[in-house]
Amino acid sequence: MSDLYKEHILDHYANPRNWGRLDSPDIAADADDPSCGDQVHLEIDLDSDGRVAQVAFEGEGCIISMASTSLFTEYIKGKTIAELEAISEEDVLRVLDAPVGSGRRRCALTPLRALQAGLRKYRRRAQGDD
């Protein structure tokens, strides 16, 4: 029916990777879109080198937002804070590897919005600690 709803997208939607919650995450944040009801809660644990050790997410939404978040959690494992901050919209779409048109771009970028909200909170807390 479509290139967008490819096998790997439907697979990540039906069997999301890294589903669930962490005990005491270093980074945690939500992204939601009241207009379509997409909701993602993303959590990250950092190891002693400041790299992503564990990721978890829960959420509800369309196939594109859920599959994109699932793929995204795999993608960010092992990255440093600086690397996380450098992730661009184009990176997320490349990881998704499906032709999202302008109409579905926002759905695909849901995990990035959650990550960026989490990084903002993380930075504020780090500054507060100084």
């Binding site: 029916m1 479509s2 967008l4 709803y5 439907l10 939607y13 039906a14 009241p34 207009s35 379509c36 009801g37 939404g61 369309c62 196939i63 594109i64 109409g103 579905r104 759905c107």
Partner: protein
Amino acid sequence: MLDVERIRRDFPILCRQVHGKPLVFLDSAASSQKPLQVLAAMEETYRQCYANVHRGVYTLSEEATCSYEEARDKVASFINARAREEIIFTRNTTESINLVAYTWGRIHIGPGDRILLTEMEHHSNIVPWQLLAQEKGAELVYLPITDEGFLDLDRLDDLLDERVKLVAFTMMSNVLGTIIPVKEIVEKAHQVGAIALVDGAQAVPHMPVDVQDLGCDFLAFSGHKMCGPTGIGVLYGREELLEEMPPFLGGGDMIRRVELDHSTWNDLPWKFEAGTPAIVEGIGLGAAVDYLTEIGMEAIAAHEQEVVAYAMERLSALPGLKIVGPPAEHRGGVIAFTFRNIHPHDLAHLLDLEGIAVRAGHHCAQPLHRRLGLVATTRASFYLYNTSEEADRLAEALEKVARIVGK
């Protein structure tokens, strides 16, 4: 019976293909397509007699003024207004409702007053009243809906008392499709001295509407949902009310005399039409009214009723498909539904790949969706050019989607 094949030939866009499939356009509740007759009237104006209207003493301006004002007469007779002065041209339904909120509301709504709305309103019949209520210290009260998607009219008497100054409600829900007993609500509103505003955005394009019979004080509707162009809408208002209301926007055309520190207002309807109006769009709306009148609103309503009843039968036979709202005989040409656990955006996207245009989301009715316990629905809406075969195409495409997504 409508000759739908002939009607479809009037709409050139219906011949096009989308993703290699013939277009099935099921989103007329958002905006309808335009027939050749409307396109021709507008093009003819631009080619032959376009000029700014009113006050022009040359031929082109007189011709343009004549066509534009003739459109007002056509609209007045289409909804059976008593006089052409009662027809105010606006941009759309939203602007029409805002006009009432900002003018009538400003002088008639005060602290402690109540505005009665319903749970099935479109945002355009909620937000203007919120703004007004916040400014004036007034209160919004909502008539609830039943689980079947009807207005809970048993609650109307409780909610209507002398504190209620305005009752504003839709004539047909843009999500549930429910057709509302306007006359009954208007009569009860008047009994407590309240004014009744009817949101006719979904009703006026699809069924006969007679403002004198309904008895409503205001009726708002849009041109673009009734085969006319975008950028032109209508506010019908009872003349006595319009006369005493202050103007809406200030500027050219709406004045009689301008001094340095004050002005006096033009006669109705121009008092409410500041600046150069949507001239060609107004003429296009006049052509749309002619088009619909010639086919007949009774016949259009009957055709939609038939197609919707068929479509509801086809769709509700699909496992996991749930239609919101009442049975076919109580609704207009709108079917909103959920299908398995497939998100409406995915559904609309996958249907588009089959050439089928439907709308997904909250349809500018978030409070209603919250009441239904849903974030979003998928909506197929039908008009005079839609057929039962298109309902079949929709049902077949949904079966295909279920096979692919399979969750």
